[in-house]
Point group: C3
Chain length 275, copies 3
């Protein structure tokens, strides 16, 4: 039916959350994974996602999960609806398994994956694994972590966790998606990294397609280069970064701070003008 | 003599410190654990505890160590007295071992544990393990980490580390403990998580005992609900969180910031009025 | 030829970067290490190094890598020149391997090591390991991580990675090095830890050599003590810390904040006056 590689557990579990390291929440999740699979390899993918913001986490997750070996279980907990009846999604994609609330977190990943298999977690499957009871506020600990442990240990397969569904319940993430027109693309700043680089949702391939040489962000027109070293002291530079999207950087500086721009800012990729 | 499960090392070591990730202190401790037990599983429980504040770390540790499998060694280093003659505590509780300076960090954990075994580390035991010399400023590296490694490797048992003592040297943590009266409970805000939730020391069972429907914090009277979703945009809500204590949250917001309240704030749980 | 212990892989890989945990960059590097060596032990040494600042990372790395067992591979990615032709350094020292851009990051470590073996990475060696292609902006993921994985797995030895060189291309780190005179030492504040301690490049042995009892920093003259407990509430204190260098602390306070001093501040160690 499908050519997507089957999930064969590698024992690796990654964590993407809006928790911080000042709170014990991530540590506790790891403890619960280890309670189910003592030899799991635990890796922090990213934390301190903007609180309850499914956009940032979802964007990065879609662009980084395949840097782990197939067989990895990725747990994503940005979960403002915890304790309500929002379903839990189990996604198989390219040999990985992803677990997250069905709240938009996995929308981009699913959109980009080849033949992903989507499931909603069946509560009966939890009971069969001895997972529960669930608190009203921390399913990361009570549900996602032990479930990840069971999957990583190979004691349950994704296929046992619930029936395949056609589409996620939440089919779009809150943010505006880029608009590709005839004269260019209108996208936006999705996230800002610690260097102050403005990371957009404008795909690198569009830069090539439109033969673009510059991008507009706020009142600034920024030239597209190749490496950070292409911009001289104080200058701004746009480049296609290692995750395949356009970002705006400043030589030896913090572009976001000095431009005074933040997430959601419109970024326009302009098609090259004919001479 | 005691029914507490014996410690059988799982190879897991957790870390609770007031260090940050910008400094190499936690990394160095992990290096020293690995020097004693190369196959240890290392987990950050929490870092960036308020500097030299034994309350926050102690509160969370007491409420989270049992989320790890029995056999785990938990190292807690919030150690303003490092280099003085303050004793080091070795606690066995529910099959876990906890190592910390005897400065109040383990008070809550010991209070809540069933038949914990308390010991003061005997310097001779360190010598026997080849641990030392100790610097005057970083026992996390020089003492706690190698000792945790030896315990995790199963090369020494807690019983070899010193004679059992009746009580910790520091028997109370600095903060005010909650007062349970006839008409309710007066507690306080112990810590604030990254979402701005005010986390109190008011136990969930007291909410039930007093059939309370609301709580007072500062000038605010807040209704007690069940999940974050129970409060509407902008509203405040109190709930018994996944760690069994009352917390005050704000819908889609940061309760601590918008109330302008911090750690130590008095929180009053009011008994339900008879109709 | 050399007495330095040979590198025999322990399977441990450490990470020193200027990335933060809010971005997935460190996680992605770990994923790529695991793709090459699934059973690697991954340890964060330090992150959030001041962006693109090779001084802080290099200072700490030199003083902490030997706290890990020999056989550890240390990856240091503070890499403002990524995408340019800056060479990559492979250093063997005391049985460890260190991988970093040749940009000053390893200068202090190499200066302090006994008979280190320095190499520049041969691009042909990468090709032989199937590493590549390289993006223009993230060699941490594309080069350093997979190379660390291959070394940790023991599938390649440092000797296969390139010819030995006499010296690093960048032979000095940007910061001023301490000047040792007849009447004392003029050094500077290299980094500030999370407690606000001002950490200098003044070696503890110089304090002994000059029989110094005090140090000048800004307009402040600070007495040299032994432990943090030697300074009373509000007082400043200097001490030789656990990493062998002088630091300036404040009792129950943040020395950097209350002195209003930062990195680069001159610190003068004064020789003891004859009576």
């Amino acid at each position: 039916m499908t050519d997507t590689p089957r999930f064969r557990p590698s024992g690796i579990v990654t964590f993407t959350t809006d928790f911080g390291q000042r709170d014990p929440f991530v540590g506790v999740m790891k403890g619960r994974v280890l309670g189910r699979h003592a030899s799991a390899t635990l890796v922090d993918l990213m934390h301190e996602v903007s609180p309850q913001d499914v956009d940032e986490g979802g964007f990065w997750l879609a662009r980084s999960y395949r840097d782990f070996p197939p067989g990895t279980v990725h747990v994503a907990v940005v979960d403002p609806g915890v304790g309500t009846s929002r379903p839990v999604t189990v996604v198989e994609a390219h040999g990985h398994v992803l677990l997250a609330p069905d709240n938009g977190l996995l929308v981009e990943l699913v959109d980009q994956a080849t033949q992903p298999l989507l499931r909603h977690l069946d509560p009966g499957a939890l009971a069969a694994l001895g997972i529960g009871p669930l608190s009203a506020t921390f399913h990361g600990r009570d549900l996602f972590a032990p479930l990840a442990g069971e999957l990583a240990a190979g004691r349950v397969t994704p296929g046992r966790l619930g029936p395949v569904i056609e589409a996620l319940a939440v089919r779009s993430s809150p943010r505006r998606r880029p608009v590709v027109g005839e004269t260019g693309v209108e996208g936006s700043v999705v996230t800002i990294d610690r260097f102050g680089n403005l990371i957009t949702d404008i795909e690198g391939e569009w830069v090539a397609r439109f033969a673009s040489r510059q991008v507009r962000v706020g009142t600034q027109v920024v030239t597209i280069g190749r490496t950070y070293a292409d911009c001289q002291g104080g200058d701004y530079l746009a480049l296609v970064n290692a995750f395949g999207v356009l970002e705006i950087a400043r030589a030896n500086g913090n572009a976001a701070a000095s431009l005074g721009l933040g997430r959601g800012t419109t970024v326009v990729l302009e098609a090259r003008q004919s001479p």
